[in-house]
Subunit: 176 residues, 2 copies
């Protein structure tokens, strides 16, 4: 199971960024997003609507104490990958990451406390340049999943109300 832990959600500043983080987590194969910082029921509802419309078995949870949450995951056998521009380039660890069954991927906000760098089994960078936690998460999950999520469909058990039929021009949506 892939779980994403998003640190430091602040309103209204992070409203859309955290939404993008959650949608990327879902679309790129994570089963759960845990977020910390300010509690935000509007955010939870909007992701709930996406899951109900577009399918999948994806959960949102809130954590008041994300360091404690990370420690609990670690204790239960999860490895922890923290995405940070200061880390080791992800390609160096890619083969190792793909073998891990249960992985907690941490994406930070402005300042990530040093404890998360310490608890992480991997501090991983995507480009060593400042860019975006949304992009870092997408590339990391893409590499960990081996690109499979780009052609993934949700099983009928978790089918949504809508499904896109890829097309050269325009928009085709089917209701399964």
């Amino acid at each position: 199971m892939l779980v994403v832990l998003r640190l430091g959600h602040r309103l209204p500043r992070d409203e859309r960024i955290t939404t993008h983080v959650a949608l990327v987590a879902r679309a790129f194969g994570a089963g759960r997003l845990i977020y910390a910082g300010q509690h935000d029921s509007g955010f939870e509802e909007s992701i709930g609507r996406v899951v109900s419309n577009w399918g999948g078995d994806f959960q949102i949870e809130y954590s008041k104490n994300p360091l404690k949450t990370a420690k609990e995951y670690k204790k239960s056998g999860y490895k922890i990958a923290h995405l940070t521009m200061y880390g080791i380039p992800l390609p160096e660890k890619e083969a190792e990451l793909r073998k891990i069954l249960n992985l907690l991927v941490i994406v930070g906000a402005e300042q990530v406390p040093a404890e998360f760098y310490e608890i992480a089994d991997f501090n991983l960078s995507l480009t060593s340049q400042p860019h975006s936690e949304v992009a870092a998460l997408a590339i990391a999950l893409d590499r960990i999943m081996g690109g499979k999520e780009l052609s993934r469909t949700f099983s009928s058990r978790f089918a949504g109300k809508m499904e896109i039929i890829p097309s050269e021009k325009g928009k085709k949506v089917r209701k399964p």
Copy 2:
């Protein structure tokens, strides 16, 4: 040359998302970002500061008429790739895209006018699921660049004031 065209920038709603789009464009190998929608000098200055601090030869331009801009690029020999969840999965076109020397990558906002679907040589999706233009751009550029940008450094001619030394724990920054 890789150029990114970001449609429909609105303030304050898109402030951070468009910033992430620009930072991803720069970090993942584009030479220029053109944005349309509301003019935003604060955004331009903040990206200018990143370029000055972190290096590279990356430009920001504003377009009042992005369809006209796209047509001009097309006329001058650029191919156009429009990223949309309704398009053809990018991996199907990946080999073809890598051969293109001059590519304009369009990322939309909420509603993209039909003309952009028409003018595009490729309408490309990343997952056929709703997620994020920031993530779509990152994955698209990563695939088009063949993953090379993950270990790219800027040449000394365009060196920044700061450079990260990747590390297992903590933060190491060097001033070249």
